[in-house]
Point group: C2
Chain length 132, copies 2
């Protein structure tokens, strides 16, 4: 786990999910919604094309928390997500987590969790609570 | 999408995640925390053995929302999760979603979202908000 963490500490990653990633996640999660898998169906929706599962995009957040900040050994207590904008297949996502609160009475911290789309707009935002 | 939905409507699924599932998700999500992958490391943690990623367990919820209730065409607006107990590899999970509120002014509903461990204890609970 990272040491001497303070409010404002931040970890970031970038990733795009391919069609193969989305198909694999559809099988894993049993979410085979055609909005993610079927280009013809997706054209008929307000998104106009296939989008990546929100749960797959937001998995980048759990990756950052588990690997980088606070890192190995952290225990995930809670998470909120607001899904603001879609992420399309092969679109580069920038995900980051940033410490916004560290409790004095217990080893628990809160992090702001954000996924930006390729235009830099907030696609998913929320808050994670972790025990360190 | 399901028709004539009312408060109390519920959809449920059962699934266990194997070691192969967890390894696949670790690659997809870039969360290769040894708590999920390394039996020796996991022994040294409070869990005593490897656990499934919380984000992978909770993906069953997005599957239920997308496929069954409200079903295809629903748009995911938000989700909260509280992670209460671990889910171990190959442990059968029962996940369900249940409508708890339907707004009168907008086509938006709230569902309670729950994942139970194999003993029937709440492992993850939260709330989803979807546009229908």
């Amino acid at each position: 786990m990272r040491e001497n963490m303070i409010i404002g500490d931040r970890a970031e990653t970038k990733k795009a999910f391919s069609e193969a990633d989305v198909r694999q996640f559809a099988i894993l999660s049993t979410d085979d919604n055609p909005l993610h898998l079927d280009p013809e169906f997706a054209k008929t929706t307000i998104f106009g094309q296939r989008i990546v599962h929100g749960a797959l995009v937001s998995s980048l957040i759990s990756g950052l928390l588990g690997r980088e900040l606070p890192g190995y050994g952290a225990i995930y207590l809670g998470q909120t997500y607001a899904f603001k904008k879609p992420i399309y297949l092969d679109e580069e996502i920038t995900a980051y987590v940033e410490i916004v609160n560290i409790r004095q009475d217990k080893p628990i911290m809160t992090l702001k969790t954000v996924c930006l789309n390729s235009k830099g707009e907030v696609a998913i935002e929320g808050e994670a609570t972790v025990r360190v």
